[in-house]
């Protein structure tokens, strides 16, 4: 049964197979560390995933004691990241809007773009040192969750600017022209046509940035300092956070503390995953409608 077109030559068949095997192999190689990390964290962390962990702080709990919890750290992380996002996202999105919609290839746009690149490369501890030097030492403010947020903001802005920029560039120029041709001013076109069209992508970029800053430890050590007690006010006094909680517990030689560190890591991963799911759910509702 040979058709007029012949059959795929054995050499091509083998190459196809080899490429497929190579691809799946590379995929497996990339997934192994991920699964391994997840598995280790779940296996070690699930033991302390109890009411105490979510309901209590470490106040009065020593490293060797059982019990204790990360309530203070969870509250701290949530507040700090919320404040960080509230500051960083508007600045970053507006910056990206300027770069894509207004700046063109002008000198100011190129300068901003250059400094965004520079900011992307700042090591996180340097961001922490900067806030320590400026906010705490120069301006004389005390350690607080807010100081931590400021350090995280420096890390979050460039990532969100770049992600938003890419998404805005993907919005077809025809849509902007369609809007202009209806006599809609540029700023309204951006607010009601360009940004909604790019919304899903921008949200994804923001979530990636949130996930990144949520795990930052170094800048927080220098800015929120350290506490075992619950501090619900991010604007005054040292505050806990999950990364610093994990860091603190993991450096304690007692098994009870180490268990708490694992559970802290598990909770951190869980929070980021929940936020991502929520973002996907929101994105689905705003997705540009297709066929």
């Amino acid at each position: 049964m040979t058709s007029a077109f012949g059959s795929v030559s054995p050499a091509r068949r083998i190459k196809d197979r080899a490429a497929a095997v190579f691809m799946w192999g590379a995929f497996a190689l990339a997934v192994i560390p991920l699964v391994s990390v997840l598995w280790t964290v779940v296996a070690h962390g699930v033991g302390r995933l109890d009411g105490d962990f979510f309901g209590h702080s470490m106040n009065g709990v020593a490293g060797r004691d059982p019990g204790g919890g990360a309530y203070h750290a969870i509250i701290g992380t949530l507040e700090q990241v919320l404040i960080t996002s509230a500051i960083a996202v508007p600045i970053a999105v507006l910056t990206a809007v300027y770069l894509v919609e207004y700046g063109g290839r002008g000198r100011l746009a190129r300068t901003i773009s250059f400094f965004v690149d520079v900011m992307t490369g700042i090591p996180s501890i340097v961001a922490g040192l900067f806030i320590l030097a400026l906010w705490l030492l120069t301006f004389g403010f005390e350690y607080s969750g807010f100081a931590g947020s400021l350090a995280l903001t420096i890390l979050m802005i460039p990532t969100v600017v770049r992600a938003t920029e890419e998404m805005l560039k993907l919005v077809p120029h025809e849509l902007r022209e369609a809007s202009f041709a209806l006599g809609v001013p540029r700023w309204r076109t951006i607010c009601f046509v360009v940004l909604p069209t790019a919304f899903t992508g921008i949200l994804t970029g923001v979530m990636l940035a949130v996930a990144r800053v949520m795990g930052e430890t170094a800048p927080l050590l220098l800015t929120i300092f350290f506490t075992k007690a619950i501090n619900n006010d991010p604007f005054s006094g040292p505050q806990g956070s999950l990364p610093t909680f994990i860091w603190d517990q993991a450096s304690d030689p007692n098994q009870n503390a180490i268990n708490r560190a694992w559970t802290g890591a598990l909770v951190l991963i869980g929070i980021i995953m929940l936020l991502n799911l929520a973002a996907r759910f929101v994105a689905r509702r705003f997705r540009p409608a297709g066929r």
Binding site: R176, L182, V184, P288, A289, G290
Partner: protein, 258 residues
């Protein structure tokens, strides 16, 4: 509702390049004027100078005068945004807003310009969709996404969107070039109907289409690559297609070049 356009001594540039040179013409109200000519001869560029869309492109600029009745579109204090509300435009490829429903697409120009009031919007949307010969096909799914329609329907949606803001003039840049013959016929019927209300200018590569829909036809040409486009002649369509004044027009129409 419809206005006369008088263009005199119009040049358009992209950066340092002169794209069209010294164009003067009069476009009559309540009529269809077709622009024909080979690719790159500046038809679309000229069309876009008529609602100040040309200058949206970075570095692009225009010299000369475009009078809409008695108002110069390029007068020193004229707001280009207001010009575009008066002179609507339909593009080559249907470009409905992807995040919006059919209803919102038609209402977009009004909503984004601050028109409020549900019942008023409802009326305008229905009227625009009826005028665009689309109402019967979509009235049961106005809340569905505009991008879900067929290409021809999308283009009529874009026409509805353009006429919903009640312009005086409607510019169409090859509105049928991405459509099949049936959809093209639907748009041509629509143009014949709309010319009772609007001044219509249409760029087309399809000479039969120009002959079918237009009252007057303008032929544009370029002397060669890199040279600016020029208006060769403009006259009644019947005359352009039977006995044009200029040899180049006849050559183009009879397919001897271009």
């Amino acid at each position: 509702m419809a206005k006369r356009i008088e263009v005199s001594g119009l040049h358009a540039y992209y950066g340092g390049t002169l794209a069209i040179e010294d164009i003067s013409m009069t476009i009559e109200p309540r009529s269809v004027t077709a622009f024909i000519g080979p690719s790159g001869c500046g038809k679309s560029t000229f069309l876009r100078t008529l609602n100040r869309m040309h200058e949206v492109i970075p570095g692009a600029r225009v010299e000369g005068k475009v009078l809409l009745d008695d108002d110069d579109l390029y007068g020193p204090s004229v707001d280009p945004v207001a010009v575009r509300r008066t002179v609507g435009m339909v593009f080559q490829r249907p470009n409905p807003f992807p995040t919006m429903s059919i209803y919102d697409n038609v209402a977009a120009g009004l909503k984004l310009n601050g028109v409020r009031g549900k019942s008023r919007l409802d009326d305008i949307v229905e009227e625009a969709l009826r005028d665009a010969n689309l109402w019967n096909e979509v009235n049961d799914r106005l809340d569905k996404p505009g991008a879900g329609l067929s290409g021809g329907q999308q283009q009529r949606l874009c026409i509805a969107r353009a006429i919903a803001v009640q312009p005086q003039v409607l510019l169409m840049d090859e509105p049928c070039s991405a459509l099949d013959p049936i959809s093209t016929l639907a748009i041509e019927d629509l143009i014949a109907k709309l010319k009772n209300q609007f001044t219509i200018v249409i760029v087309t590569h399809n000479m039969q289409q120009a002959a079918r829909v237009s009252d007057r036809t303008a032929f544009f040409n370029i002397a060669g690559t890199g040279k600016p486009g020029k208006l060769i002649e403009i006259d009644d369509t019947s005359k352009i297609f039977t006995k044009p004044e200029v040899q180049a027009t006849e050559d183009y129409i009879t397919g001897r070049f271009g």
